[in-house]
């Protein structure tokens, strides 16, 4: 079943989305069939692209929206959110 889910996440007062977590994020994102997008303000980038993700400049305190669209959208979003939250807690 095709579905589109969105979720708002604040990279709260912690670490920016640096190379390491960004790499992990992309490594996980590419495993899914769904398209993954990250929205910051008006900008939307491909969540499967490290270079776009880094250029978006997700600095600490930024609110982003994770968007997944496809048959495995739900699992994708859950895993990616957990990953981000893990980095939140760790720092």
């Amino acid at each position: 079943m095709m579905s589109r889910i969105e979720k708002k996440i604040t990279i709260s007062a912690n670490e920016s989305l640096h190379a390491r977590p960004a790499s992990l994020f992309v490594q996980k994102a590419v495993k899914y069939n769904s398209s993954i997008w990250i929205k910051k303000g008006k900008e939307v980038v491909n969540g499967k692209s490290i270079i776009e993700l880094l250029s978006l400049g997700i600095e600490k305190g930024t609110e982003i929206t994770l968007i997944a669209e496809g048959d495995d959208a739900e699992e994708a979003l859950q895993e990616l959110e957990e990953l981000l939250m893990f980095y939140e807690k760790k720092n």
């Binding site: 007062a13 390491r20 790499s23 490594q27 776009e52 400049g57 600095e59």
Partner: protein, 591 residues
């Protein structure tokens, strides 16, 4: 042969130490990428060529990663994760292919244009760490380009056969990872900052490095001799023999000190009879933060925030402050940082237009008094500190508290700020500790009441001494009266420490007195918990503490409570130290 002119260039010290030697210029040449128009038939071949370049670069990166993992560590090898992802990046690859197809241009050109676009986007970000990822991307790009133009991928640094100082426009993580380290005397680069890979690798290897020298690669020649001073952040090109001798001496001295201090760095500040105290750092500017751990301090006992407020016409915004507080907290973690709220007035004046001139600035509208009257400024700072406290290692300290009421008012404003943040669902440390600086005699005398309201005390001796002895130290006619050992001062300090301990809170000191070994010994005997001092003093203080017994310090402290002048206090302490440390006691003091 005529000696070349010598010149000194200032950069950013990225890793301490001195290196003297010949240079090795690495990777000065850049690829010239030419634009070539393609005919329609050439396009599929061009795309194939591009994809092959990606694949073969990937292969060589993977083997490089394995090599680094073996030679250095798994963690260092992780650097290449991002590199590899760039090579597989769909957005990037599609961009390049589209460009080749649409604009009918060669792969080298299409690729380098796309890379430029992304590197520029990264370089424009505010975050230094992300900014420097532009370097990673350029590094990958160079590798791919060298494949495309049919060159063997260069590994210039592998061919470093003799000891030399490496001079480069920039060093990529890949470059530094494969270096024959035994031959590297130091690093010097045109670009980069304290968080660049060159800086990180250099300091982890203990090799001096100066970065951010702009155009050093253009200024110097292959035959030049260099001196680099990583602590000062300077480079001297073609120094005179006299200067070389000077730096050689400095290097020997540094090496000797470093040896003694490095032995102490990780050792706890513990007396012979196992009394543990904390030696923390006083920090005035962000540039000093790396020194905290370099000198073996446990966190920051006094983080002054005035630097952000001085010399400007407006007040720093919450975001700017937050960034600074967050960075320092992250830097010292897992140790803690005590952030002191704005302490202006006195000898520090704001340039803001509405600050009135005062006749007695030290008795005037300063520090917490100013902050309580200007909730707009104060709460902005409190919000920024609270937000940074999500890292759970931040404490707040209010300066110039003169009595319980003032402390309560400041705390109320903090509570207000907290509930505003809660409403907005902004995270902070709910258990953030709040301390009072004890630097006014009235606060010292009412410390028993203050201790019920505070989570910790920090004694500011510079002001406490000048207020209790009524001496302006900068007035040379009366400066002789400024005596840290004055019985009045000692007895105030004792009562503050005792009140704190009666109520179960820790008492620290962040004035100069704590960094002078002679007084530090007295303070140890008065049972001070934390000594917060300029970081470079830490090894000396630690050395003393590790050489004495707590029980002896207590004995001395009891004795000095019975003498009536500062001179006697000092004499008594000196003789006592001589007795327990022997003739080498002087080497433990500042003299």
């Amino acid at each position: 042969m005529k000696r070349k002119t010598s010149r000194k260039i200032k950069g950013i010290g990225a890793s301490g130490g001195i290196a003297i030697g010949p240079i090795y210029l690495a990777g000065r040449e850049e690829f010239s990428v030419f634009k070539r128009r393609l005919s329609q038939e050439e396009i599929p071949h061009e795309i194939l060529r591009f994809e092959e370049a990606l694949i073969s670069t990937r292969k060589s990166l993977v083997s490089l990663q394995e090599e680094v993992s073996k030679k250095l560590s798994y963690e260092h090898a992780r650097i290449f994760d991002a590199h590899l992802l760039v090579l597989e990046d769909r957005a990037l690859i599609e961009d390049v292919i589209t460009k080749i197809k649409k604009e009918k241009v060669n792969a080298e050109y299409a690729f380098s244009e796309v890379i430029k676009k992304y590197a520029a986007a990264l370089a424009s970000l505010r975050d230094d760490y992300l900014k420097e990822r532009a370097i990673d991307i350029n590094d990958v790009a160079k590798r791919v380009l060298s494949r495309l133009v049919g060159k063997e991928e260069e590994q210039p640094l592998l061919s470093l056969k003799e000891k030399a100082i490496i001079v480069a426009h920039d060093l990529s993580p890949a470059d530094t990872a494969v270096l024959p380290k035994q031959n590297v005397l130091g690093f010097v680069t045109d670009i980069g900052g304290r968080t660049s890979h060159t800086a990180i690798i250099a300091s982890s290897l203990g090799i001096p490095a100066v970065v951010g020298l702009r155009n050093i690669t253009e200024i110097i020649d292959e035959e030049d001799i260099l001196i680099i001073d990583g602590s000062e952040g300077t480079v001297i090109v073609n120094p005179s023999p006299r200067v070389i001798e000077e730096y050689k001496l400095k290097r020997t001295q540094q090496a000797r000190l470093k040896k003694i201090f490095s032995l102490l760095r990780r050792e706890p500040a513990k007396t012979l009879d196992d009394k543990r105290v904390t030696i923390a750092a006083n920090v005035e500017f962000p540039e000093e933060i790396p020194l905290v751990s370099e000198w073996g301090c446990e966190g920051i006992g006094l983080y002054r925030t005035e630097y952000m407020f001085l010399g400007r016409k407006d007040f720093p915004q919450e975001e700017e402050q937050f960034q600074a507080y967050f960075d320092v907290a992250r830097e010292v973690k897992p140790d803690t940082v005590i952030i002191r709220t704005l302490d202006i007035g006195g000898d520090k004046f704001l340039s803001q237009p509405d600050m009135p001139k005062e006749i007695h600035p030290f008795l005037g509208w300063r520090a917490i008094r100013f902050c309580l009257a200007r909730p707009d400024i104060f709460k902005t700072q409190l919000r920024a500190i609270l937000r940074a406290s999500v890292l759970k290692n931040v404490k707040i300290m209010f300066p110039m508290i003169s009595g319980v009421e003032e402390l309560k008012q400041a705390k109320a404003m903090l509570e207000e700020t907290k509930s505003e943040l809660r409403k907005k669902k902004i995270g902070f440390d709910e258990n953030i500790q709040v301390g009072a600086m004890i630097e006014v005699p009235s606060a010292a005398l009412t410390s028993d009441f203050l201790a019920r309201e505070a989570d910790f005390f920090s004694i500011g001796t510079n002001d406490l001494i000048q207020y209790s002895l009524a001496v302006d130290r900068s007035n040379e006619k009366v400066a002789y009266l400024y005596e840290p050992g004055h019985p009045a001062v000692i007895s105030l300090i004792k009562s503050v420490i005792d009140s704190g301990h009666r109520h179960g809170i820790k008492v620290g000191m962040c004035g100069e007195m704590a960094s002078e070994p002679l007084y530090a010994f007295i303070l140890l005997g008065l049972e001070l918990d934390e000594f917060s001092i300029p970081p470079a003093w830490a090894p000396k203080l630690k050395r003393l503490i590790r050489a004495v017994k707590f029980s002896d310090a207590i004995t001395l402290a009891e004795k000095i409570m019975r003498v009536s002048t500062a001179k006697e206090v000092e004499k008594l302490t000196r003789n006592f130290l001589k007795e327990i440390l022997g003739n080498k006691y002087k080497s433990y003091l500042s003299e």
